[in-house]
Each structure stands twice: as C-alpha cells, then as structure tokens.
C-alpha cells in the first residue's frame, strides 16, 4: 500500500437508511478498519491474519474493528429507526477517512435530528431492554460528535493503539 493510500484514503458509501442495507455499511466499515490495521502494523509487529474479504463471515476478531463496527451499527439503527421512522424514506452516507493514527467516520442523513446529550445513561444493573445504543457507540469510540441538521452529521473517531488518545466524549453543538 502506498503511503498516500494508507494515510489519506477516503471511502464513501451512500445507501438507503433502511435496516436491510445495514450489513452493507457494516462490511464496508470492517474493511476500512482492516486498512487502518495494515497501516497500524506497517512499522513493526506483524498484523493478525484475517480471512479473505470475500468470505460470508464477518470477521470481528480484531478489537479495533469490533468496536468501530459496534458503534456504526448503533448509529445506523438510530438513523433508520428514529431519524426516518423505520420508513427507509431517505439515504445515509458514510465517509470513512483512513489516517495513519485513526479512523474517522462521518455519517450524515436528512432525517429527524435529536440531542444525544439528552439521552440518559442506561441503568445497567437493571438489565435494560432499550436505550443502550448511544451508550454503546459512545463507549466504543474515542470521540463521538453530533451536529443536528439537516443534514445531521455524526463524526466518529477512533485512534489506533499507541497513538495519543483524547478523552472519550460526546458532544452536540447547538
């Protein structure tokens, strides 16, 4: 992989904001994570051996990929179910920016907006059956930003191991 491709690659995907398309988005994100992993291991230790990208099985044995995919899954659900009321009446666009020390995923939609800072933390000891999505996304990323629209814009950032991490936070500029 060239240095340019490894550090400045951008993958853009637009699909209907419908749960039937979520798997497409998830697989694209998993592949972007794999590209970051290769860049991550470019200067020393050996990368984990992943199964071929054409496999039907989604390989989430890598923690970085598992956490990013978890976060994106919840955001996609939120947009499809709440932003568009489960009607699939609009699109969602994912832009994956592959940097040397991080993966930045910008997710935009034209659905209803909301204020994620008003979403309460789930009471985990009570074994909740809902309200866990934003908590999962927040916990799995290093940064989670939201700007209400239209378009609504989520920005998810995760740093690779060994890079300088910023405190985990979620913000929603008003």
């Amino acid at each position: 992989m060239s240095k340019r491709a490894g550090n400045q690659g951008v993958i853009r995907l637009t699909c209907p904001a419908d749960l039937r398309y979520r798997d497409v988005a998830v697989r694209a994100v998993a592949e972007a994570c794999r590209l970051v992993s290769r860049s991550r291991y470019a200067h020393g230790s050996q990368p984990r051996v992943h199964s071929a990208s054409t496999t039907q099985t989604l390989d989430l044995s890598d923690r970085f990929a598992a956490e990013v995919v978890s976060a994106v899954s919840e955001i996609f659900n939120n947009i499809a179910i709440h932003g568009y009321n489960g009607e699939g009446s609009g699109d969602v666009t994912l832009e994956m920016r592959i940097r040397g020390d991080r993966l930045v995923i910008v997710i935009s939609d034209e659905g209803s907006s909301f204020d994620p800072s008003q979403v309460p933390l789930p009471e985990l000891d009570a074994l909740p059956e809902g309200g866990m999505g934003i908590h999962i996304a927040r916990a799995c990323m290093d940064e989670l930003d939201y700007t209400p629209g239209p378009p609504n814009i989520w920005t998810l950032t995760k740093y690779t191991a060994g890079s300088v991490r910023r405190p985990r936070r979620v913000s929603s500029p008003t």
Partner: protein, 88 residues
C-alpha cells in the same frame, strides 16, 4: 431447551427471534441454554432480545444460561456489564 444463534443478532434479525422467545416463555421452560459460539455480531436490539428471554424466564421461576460468546458479542456483553449476569 437449547437455542443456538449464529450470524448477526441485530435490529433486523432480533424481531425474528421474538416468536421463539414467546413460545419458550409460554411453555414455562425452566432451563434455557443460549449458545452463541456461531454469533459474529450483536447490537443493542439483539442484547435486548436475550435480556427479555432472561427476564421473562426468570419471572416464571426458570433460568437462562448464555454461553460461548466471543469477539464482538463478548465485548458488548462486557461493556454492558452483562458478562457477570450470564457468567460469560
């Protein structure tokens, strides 16, 4: 009664599991084993389905065990502090 889940248990597929959960609860099963060795991905909707099975079976005096979670599903159960509840 054993329940083996594979692939993805998410907002798209979890609703397909609900009739099975309803049936297990109606039959008042006292021992339900959920096997997750083949599960690649779970999201909050999938977790909610398993929690619903756990709670409803327990309210009938029964017990649900969840085993075999790995990789992403295990990380999510740990994040939600449910690994101790399910003894994962």
């Amino acid at each position: 009664m054993s329940l083996r889940l594979s692939g993805s248990l998410d907002a798209m597929t979890a609703p397909e599991l609900l009739p099975t959960i309803d049936r297990l609860v109606e039959e008042k099963r006292t021992r339900v084993s959920v096997h997750l060795e083949g599960l690649d991905l779970i999201d909050s909707s999938g977790v909610a389905a398993i929690v619903a099975l756990y709670k409803r079976t327990r309210s009938n005096g029964g017990r649900v065990t969840v085993t075999g979670a790995r990789d992403q599903p295990l990380a999510i159960f740990k994040l939600l502090r449910m690994d101790r509840v399910f003894a994962l």
